[in-house]
Point group: C2
Chain length 262, copies 2
DNA sequence: CACGATCCTATGTCGGACATAAACGGAGCA
DNA sequence: TGCTCCGTTTATGTCCGACATAGGATCGTG
């Protein structure tokens, strides 16, 4: 893509207007109920034509973030109306809503609910190809840790981590669960980036990942469920996100340690 | 927006082009990998300008259903890439993909996984206002059944049923779970419409709904989880969707009857 | 003060024009 | 002969200018 606008200098990076607006909304520049600038103002602000601006706004409409009222303007909708399950919104949310504790907390609560169950489904339905994908991601995490720059085959440890979780979602062989992985992917990436500090924590985290993988391989749904919870518990500890135990499914598993703090 | 149809003078019943294309895609007219007609052809076909056609196509792009390749055309993407969690796509899916048994089955499997857990969260977090909403929907279902045309306050029994489930999602007070309700709403509506046949079945269904509501009111998460499963089991029976028991979480609940068909 | 007609604003739609990306096909060269 | 390279074709991406339309705000009148 390119520029070809009236800008005399080389404006190589055309800013994604939809994304910029989304960032502004997520960061609170335009709060729910507010109006974003009208089309013509945005045209001037970004030096693009009205078509381009309208295209960007339509993206935000599709994301449920703004509502366009003919003759009045484009108003930011309430947070609850946003399509948080849209991969694009999820991506923006992960990148722009970082410091927002509420969103962060709810995403984590959601993961705590979803991933154990997904792990169970994966343990029940994983094929050889799924196991291979999971294992590849796992070994990528290990290998990356062994390198000084935490890179393996050009991919960071964190990305392998994300791929690991993604592969588990895919192993459910259910369209909707797989979709949720796309949604959660940016969120997982965000949480992964901001956790995993010390070497001890990393080792512990890797061991929990390994147990999860093994449970899926051995077709042990309940162990997989518990192991997924264990992985998340590790993440939650790293993030200092406690108090979510009320959201945890109360498992009664013989061989696996309980997680309740009480 | 919506069509005030019967405006026969000029552009009668402006058809939502995005929706029509979506219907064509869902019904298989354009299969994944195929190209939809190019913009200019669509302009002629619908007698609208290119802007309008582009707007519609962009909607489909936002839905992940088509990928536009500059200079080549707009190609239908693979089913797995569609944003099935987008409320709009979910709505189309419910209305246009009815006979598709695979999608139907996966939606139901998804519900079986999600709704019990949501019921648990609702039992833990429901406020008085949430309980009121649930109860209102429940009584709407009852009242509607008592009328000859199954309407209560102008709303059908099925719609009250949908509202019932929606209220439970909202009671989780988690943004993402509530979002899933928006996604599942059309699917629930579809399943509700095509089930609930005889009077006996309806009575049984209502009783299961009542138990679910009571469990939420009494803050009994495990009972609520089981009751939600029970409601879905009833639906599954109505639909002849068996064989999903492997997807059911194995609950060990003392006071509530087991649900396994075996 | 109430109420309706009018104006105003910003979005929705239209039509045409040129720029751009990707696949196709033919010319030139080793 | 086989390969690369470059134009052509095609359909999308962007731009511009204009008018139509939907709401809200305003103002006038009874």
């Amino acid at each position: 893509m390119s520029r070809a606008t009236s800008s005399p200098n080389n404006r190589a990076t055309r800013p994604d207007i939809a994304e910029q607006l989304a960032e502004a909304i997520f960061s609170g520049v335009y709060a729910p109920g507010d109006f974003v600038p009208k089309e013509l103002d945005l045209c001037e602000q970004y030096s693009v034509s009205r078509s381009t601006v309208r295209s960007a706004l339509q993206t935000l409409v599709a994301a449920g973030m703004v509502k366009r009222i003919s003759g009045q303007g484009s108003r930011v909708r309430e947070l609850a109306e946003w399509h948080l399950l849209d991969p694009r919104v999820s991506d923006w949310m992960a990148r722009f809503a970082q410091p927002n504790p509420r969103i962060r907390r709810e995403i984590f609560a959601f993961r705590v609910a979803v991933e154990p169950f997904v792990a169970r489904l994966a343990a029940e339905n994983a094929t050889a190809a799924d196991l291979l994908a999971i294992e590849t991601a796992y070994h990528g995490m290990i290998r990356a840790l062994e390198t000084p720059d935490h890179l393996y085959q050009g991919v960071s440890h964190d990305d392998h981590d994300v791929a690991f979780h993604e592969a588990i979602f895919a192993a459910t062989h259910n369209l909707l669960w797989s979709q949720i992985s796309h949604v959660l992917k940016p969120a997982i990436a965000l949480l992964v980036e901001t956790s995993n500090h010390s070497a001890d924590e990393l080792n512990d985290s890797m061991e929990r990942h390994r147990l999860l993988m093994e449970a899926i391989r051995l077709r042990q749904p309940e162990q997989a469920e518990a192991a997924a919870l264990s992985v998340l518990e590790r993440t939650g500890l790293d993030l200092g996100l406690e108090g979510l135990s009320s959201h945890l499914p109360t498992l009664r598993l013989p061989g696996v340690g309980r997680l309740e703090p009480s």
